[in-house]
């Protein structure tokens, strides 16, 4: 059953995303960071949709669970696009963005295939189980891709503060969600994560809004300072 805290947190998630979108539009980075805008628009639309579904069929209904997990998988795919865009920016001088796009699409299809195989091998074969497994695996592949990108940035001595903060915030988000989905898999009845998830959802728009509003695009930072800032 959903309480007032749940409704309040859902509303807060939505408001934070709208504020972030406004910040991005005010900064006129629409074309440069189209994938981020796309993700935010999708997230806002899905947030409104979730409200609608809860209002129509209730929080505990199967329909809401289907809607929640499938929309979550859709949002993760949108985040893959954001990640691809970041890859393209980091490797812009090497002109390998076509390969990055192709590789990411292959990985996406592979993850879906592996998730299906994992569920098909189990005894219950529930569709909801498939989408839960898919979300967990998508987030985990997101963690690995972000880690790979971060490693490449460190190796290439990438010093654009904007890029660094965008990649790191993505890493925090993917890791937190992959971990929480895995925890949900281990302990299905754990209720604490219901509230923690809402707070984690706010992380990305808040960190993006900060980066776009406060950090100038041309700011540079020595890579070593991020690894050990006070040395």
């Amino acid at each position: 059953m959903m309480g007032p805290v749940d409704y309040l947190l859902l509303l807060a998630d939505l408001l934070v995303e709208i504020c972030c979108l406004v910040c991005l539009l005010r900064k006129r980075v629409f074309s440069q960071h189209f994938t981020i805008v796309l993700y935010l628009c999708a997230s806002i639309a899905i947030g409104i949709g979730r409200y609608g579904v809860i209002g129509a069929v209730g929080f505990t209904s199967v329909a809401y669970h289907y809607f929640f997990y499938y929309s979550d998988a859709l949002l993760t795919i949108c985040l893959y696009f954001v990640l691809m865009n970041l890859y393209a920016r980091v490797f812009s001088e090497m002109e390998i963005s076509k390969f990055v796009r192709g590789g990411a699409m292959l990985l996406l299809a592979g993850t879906a295939g592996i998730s299906y195989h994992m569920v098909a091998a189990s005894t219950d074969k529930l569709v909801t189980h498939f989408v839960f497994e898919l979300s967990q695996n998508l987030y985990f592949v997101g963690v690995l891709l972000t880690y790979l990108l971060w490693g490449a940035m460190m190796k290439m001595r990438e010093n654009r503060t904007h890029l660094m903060q965008l990649v790191l915030s993505m890493g925090v988000y993917f890791s937190a969600f992959a971990g929480s989905y895995a925890l949900g898999n281990m302990y299905p009845g754990l209720m604490v994560w219901r509230y923690v998830c809402h707070l984690m959802v706010m992380w990305l728009p808040l960190s993006w809004a900060y980066t776009f509003m406060k950090v100038p695009e041309d700011t540079r930072m020595a890579t070593a300072r991020v690894l050990a800032p006070n040395r």
Partner: protein, 136 residues
Amino acid sequence: MIAILIFGISALTLLQFFVSYSHSLIAESRGYELSEHGREIAGVTGRIVRSDQFRRLLQLIALCPEPGGDTGQVRAVSIYFGLLGLVRVLFGWIEPAVAGWIESERSGCAYVAAVMLDRRISYNRVLMARQMSAQL
């Protein structure tokens, strides 16, 4: 088994990404010079802000209306500060060098808080000046 593996790896990467993100915020704030007025209000002398001033700075930040967009940063740095406190309690006694490193990191967090307070003060001063000129 796979869930345990995913959880373990995700927890480790989360820690690493979060620490690096906090470092990037600290490093970015280090380039910002605190204004005289901000120093006076924050009670800061010199370039180094002591870690024990962090809580007081947070209280002052809470008193200032926010210009928007820095709430996430305040929260991230507070979590990092708390995490360092926990590490100090758990491992600080093993090696004094660890305690020294933690202190310098916490002092970096306090500097970030001072910068945010300074930015909010400047924002409020601009707002007040606009209001005064509108009244005239």
